[in-house]
């Protein structure tokens, strides 16, 4: 006998959409509000900057000027800014476990649902 799903009320449908919306907006904004999202470059400006000291040749100096940076001091922060790629191995392991664990969870639960779908579509097989 085919599974007959219950009829969902309009209010129930609205609640379901709201739940997803809250989860979605929360996933994007929570790290942002906690100040944990994104990577930032840290400038390390040098004192009394010159184009030569910043490693910029004649052609590059022309390019900076065309982009609105007339002297070395105005480009000092941009040229000296760098990312910091030091990381914790514990954090890396947490990420690996989270990614792998997520896919294992979804595939296993999906397989359980998939067997119901196949049994209803093609009839009971006696497997699984």
């Amino acid at each position: 006998m085919a599974y007959q799903p219950p009829k969902q009320s309009l209010a129930g449908q609205v609640v379901d959409v709201i739940v997803l919306l809250v989860l979605t907006v929360g996933a994007l904004y929570l790290p942002l509000y906690m100040g944990l999202a994104g990577a930032a470059k840290t400038p390390a400006p040098i004192e009394n900057p010159t184009w030569e000291a910043l490693g910029q040749n004649a052609a590059e100096q022309q390019q900076w000027a065309a982009l609105g940076f007339p002297d070395a001091a105005s480009a000092n922060d941009i040229i000296t800014a760098r990312f910091d790629y030091t990381f914790s191995w514990t954090a890396l392991i947490v990420m690996v476990v989270a990614v792998v664990g997520y896919f294992i969870l979804v595939v296993r639960l999906s397989d359980k649902e998939y067997r119901e779908v196949i049994d209803e579509r093609f009839g009971k097989s006696g497997k699984g």
Partner: protein
């Protein structure tokens, strides 16, 4: 033995089959070409000029694997929703629900990023013309509303529009390249940073750059969202998708060459509109106008394609009751998923008006990356459950399972690249998808008709 023929799917109003390979190409490239106009250059910032180029080509290899796998599965599972429909038939309902969310999140965030960029560009140009302090918000809202209306009225008009503006944006990159090569720039090309400072972060920088290397091509898999509206899926989808990848690899390499030669890498690594900036450096006003229009067209085409793809995925989930069935309606006259199109407008606006661009872009990239990871085991399961001689495929990709293995390795490297700086966001997103999955499995799935989740005329999968 299959008893598929005994099961009759109820008749329902379907989407119009009006699209050819040119539209598929325009849908794929239209969404993605904006990646050449903004965003890719952050890969140079994360690893330097050489790392940016390596990321461009490695990401090209990743997307070639995506295109090969997608062409086979989509040309066989020719239903609206693309990877969502694939997951439903091959892995199971919960995976399909997750893939549907990947698609909606990736495309809606990309749409929001495009609208933000249009506002930013107009503000920049207004400033160059002496009108400072332009309010960007009306332009952001108008862009999203106008494109949503176009999608509401019909897919043919919408994608024909994309075909024209995508072609223009692509030609603008070629013209800039040729103009610079033939001396139209007042400032010479300079690649001294390639030898003087080739890898400012060492080899780690090459991996880190892969994060934004994806932005060169992100969304090309959107071609298969239109599978139910393509006249000949077996021919049009592989042809349109592969042509799209080749177009993008060429455009990406030309873009890297021109921008790296005209813009110091330290500036390029954080520029908002790199191709427009390259045109500014040339000092040639005609090129500046051309690249301004190209940037507007590329972002518009991308946002247009994103609305098309996100609404198809949302529509498909509503039709299957993974979401309230109200979303599964087709417009009686225009034959478009109009309720899904309208519903996603405020979501795009919330992010376009209220979130920083880099957060929106990263959210889109991460959803895409999760989707590519799904494709690897989806392909292996597809061949295992239905070996080549059991069902008719529109296209069979060569060297299986090599593309799936290569794609998995590249996805793993990209997770590490995202981890370098954006690890918290990755974990937060995974928490979102885990909670949403538990919500679906233990609550929402009760409203889903089991047998209706398998609509392809295939025999019983092997092992089930």
């Amino acid at each position: 033995m299959s008893n598929a023929s005994a099961v009759q799917a109820p008749e329902r109003l379907g989407l119009l089959r009006v699209l050819g390979p040119g539209h598929v190409w325009a849908l794929g490239v239209g969404i993605v070409l904006v990646g050449e106009y903004m965003g890719w250059n952050f890969s140079v910032g994360k690893g330097g000029m050489i790392a940016g180029l390596v990321a461009c080509w490695v990401a090209g290899l990743l997307y070639t694997c995506v295109a090969m796998i997608d062409s086979e599965v989509t040309s066989t599972v020719a239903a609206a929703g693309g990877q969502y429909a694939q997951a439903k038939h091959i892995v199971g309902p919960l995976m399909a629900f997750n893939v549907g969310l990947f698609l909606v999140m990736a495309y809606t965030m990309l749409e929001a990023a495009n609208a933000i960029t249009i506002g930013f560009l107009l503000d920049t140009v207004a400033g160059m013309l002496g009108h400072t302090g332009l309010n960007q918000q009306p332009f952001i809202i108008m862009t999203i509303l106008a494109l949503a209306y176009l999608n509401y009225r019909g897919v043919l008009a919408s994608l024909s529009f994309n075909l024209v503006i995508t072609a223009f944006a692509f030609v603008a990159i070629i013209v800039l390249f040729l103009a610079v090569q033939f001396g139209a720039s007042a400032v010479p090309l300079d690649f001294s940073a390639v030898t003087n400072e080739p890898l400012p972060y060492g080899w780690l920088g090459i991996i880190a750059a892969l994060h934004f290397g994806l932005w060169y091509y992100l969304g090309i898999e959107g071609t298969c969202q239109a599978a139910e509206e393509v006249r000949s899926p077996a021919r049009s989808l592989p042809f349109g998708t592969m042509a799209g990848i080749m177009t993008l690899v060429i455009a990406a390499t030309l873009t890297w060459y021109v921008c790296s030669g005209l813009i110091p890498w330290e500036y390029l690594g954080s520029a908002g509109t790199p191709l427009f900036d390259a045109a500014r450096v040339t000092g040639n006003s005609s090129l500046m106008v051309l690249l301004f229009i190209g940037t507007v067209f590329a972002t518009t085409a991308s946002a247009n394609g994103c609305i098309n793809d996100a609404s198809r995925a949302w529509f498909s989930m509503g039709r299957d009751r993974y979401l309230p069935s109200w979303f599964g309606a087709v417009h009686p006259r225009y034959r478009t998923p109009y309720r899904s199109i309208v519903f996603l407008i405020p979501i795009a606006l919330i992010f376009a008006l209220g979130a920083p661009l880099d957060q929106v872009v990263t959210f889109s990239i991460l959803s895409g990356l999760l989707g590519y990871t799904f494709m690897t085991f989806n392909m292996v399961m597809f061949r295992k459950k239905w070996p080549l001689d059991t069902i008719k495929r529109g296209y069979v990709h060569p060297w299986h399972p090599l593309p799936a293995v290569v794609l998995l390795v590249l996805c793993a490297a990209t997770y590490f690249a995202v981890f370098l700086g954006y690890g918290t966001q990755l974990i937060a997103m995974l928490c979102f998808y885990i909670i949403a999955s538990l919500w679906f499995h233990f609550w929402r799935y009760r409203f889903v008709k089991r047998g209706d989740q398998f609509t392809m005329p295939w025999p019983r999968p092997q092992g089930y």
